[in-house]
């Protein structure tokens, strides 16, 4: 089975994240880049599927040159090879542009199964997997808390507010996974060394037949008009519990008409 796992490098959430005032895009130099946490679950799930059903796991990322760190991390976990879509023309792409660029690349490299994390910690749109399914015309198996494959049949448990839906489809398909679907493995020393020798193919937009007019800041379907650092919340009242902390909290709730 040809499994492609899409990963994204995001700014470390433990550092201060910024937008760039020049063009209102993410300032990727302001913070350390790390693999998006939910992508680790996607890589793990892809590896588990390969281990159970055979095949090959290809890592696909779209991002600047420094995203190679994230590719190496996924390769060190055990993926076989990688494709890095990197082009200055992609800078500033929104979700629609990104889904278009990734869909074009997926068409080019081929796939039986595409696996993603359900959202990224930077943009947090949570729409990319659904958009890929739409663009590729394949079943959308998103928000999976469990994935089962039997031949070309695939079933997931789609996490919902009330519990989950059992969903069935046939491959090829796009799957997104939620946190806790599995326990992502730590790369071993051997894995880290092996990752350095695994093939990473670099593609530009022309290689993947991506039209420049549909990507980047100029091609995006949405724009950030302006942004501002959020003003700090007004300092609240902090009291020390002297045996009456609960009552004082109740008085506050009453003053705000909550009770």
């Amino acid at each position: 089975m040809n499994i492609v796992v899409c990963v994204k490098q995001v700014p470390d959430t433990a550092t201060e994240r910024k937008l760039n005032a020049k063009d209102n895009t993410l300032d990727r130099d302001a913070a350390d880049g790390v693999i998006n946490e939910l992508c680790e679950y996607a890589v793990e799930e892809a590896l588990k599927i390969k281990e159970a059903h055979g095949g090959e796991v290809t890592v696909l990322t779209m991002g600047p040159g420094k995203a190679t760190d994230t590719i190496r991390k996924a390769l060190a976990m055990g993926a076989d090879k990688a494709v890095h879509l990197v082009d200055d023309a992609l800078h500033g792409s929104d979700a629609l542009s990104t889904s278009y660029a990734l869909a074009q690349t997926l068409r080019k490299i081929g796939f039986d199964l595409v696996v993603l994390g359900s959202e990224s910690t930077d943009a947090r749109t949570g729409v990319l997997a659904a958009m890929l399914a739409e663009r590729l015309g394949v079943p959308q198996l998103t928000l999976a808390g469990k994935v089962d494959i039997d031949g070309s049949a695939i079933a997931i448990q789609r996490v919902t507010d009330y519990g989950f839906d059992k969903v069935e489809a046939s491959l090829p398909a796009v799957v997104s996974v939620v946190e806790k679907i599995n326990e992502p493995r730590y790369p071993s020393f051997k894995g880290i060394m092996a990752a350095k020798k695994k093939p990473v193919e670099t593609l530009g937009i022309a290689d993947a037949e991506i039209e420049a007019a549909q990507v980047g800041l100029g091609g995006a379907w949405s724009e950030v008009v302006e942004f501002a650092v959020a003003p700090p919340r007004a300092a609240g009242t902090i009291v020390k519990d002297e045996g009456d902390g609960g009552s004082k909290a109740a008085e506050f709730l009453a003053s705000k008409k909550f009770i």
Binding site: A130, E134, A228, D241
Partner: protein, 317 residues
Amino acid sequence: MAEILVLVEHIDGEVKKVTLELLTLARSLGSASAVWAGPGYSESARARLAEYGADKIYVAGSEEIVDYVVAPKAELLAQLVASASPAAVLVAATAEGKEVAGRLAIKTDSGVITDAVGLGDGFVAEQSIFGGGVNVRARAVKGTPIVAVRPNSTAPEASAGAGAEEQVTVALSDAAKGARVVERVKQEKGARPELTEAAIVVSGGRGVGSAENFAVIEKLADALGAAVGASRAATDAGWYPHQFQVGQTGKTVSPQLYIAAGISGAIQHRAGMQTAKTIIAINKDSEAPIFELADFGVVGDLHQIVPQLTEEVEKRK
């Protein structure tokens, strides 16, 4: 007035609160049209939607629309965008609502904004990003603006609309029938409101100490008619089910009141609750970052403070 489509969120035939919020918001920008997808529509649903300002109600009651994941709702809305040429489409920024918005954006060649916490003239949306650290104003620049709005972004206000009903049939494409829902498994949720929709959320974290002790959090939540949430530390420890996790990798909530008990307030958690209108923090560590967000904070042992608060709430009912 320009027509604005609002995709109705409903469960067991009941219109969810977030839809009333979206109708209120749509009314401030144009004429609100509700779109009902799937079975369960009734006269009481019609009355409810009209009460909150729906001038028009499109009803696509076919079972088929909910038999497949997300795609049929996007096809229904795309058909209405083509026939009614609305000024904008609003959906609730739930996990599924955002997916509908994403597919609709591709079908209609339109821009999409997710997790809006406000929406104004020109359909410029307000968003709060990076765990509440940055406020953004963004808009769609192509097609029909599609905006996914977070629950609790607007207070729902009744104001009667015409409520004219229009039946809609949609012929689903084969592509929309790729992922079939074969069973819906409802897990016990009790009488509490849904976490992402609740006006009040009471959350417990590491300081709660054990699964049994979460009863303290639940009692306060029940006294307030609130939903229960948990920090990642608490769900990772197995004290509370994972689907109640509030934070960066869990649910994002934006309630009127958020009570954080025994939660330190790491970015992981703040990213999921920072847009709450009023925040109360209870923690024994006076240096905990959660106090920087709190409108009211109590430094002390939650096992003493929370039961006392619960008792006071009960007394004042």
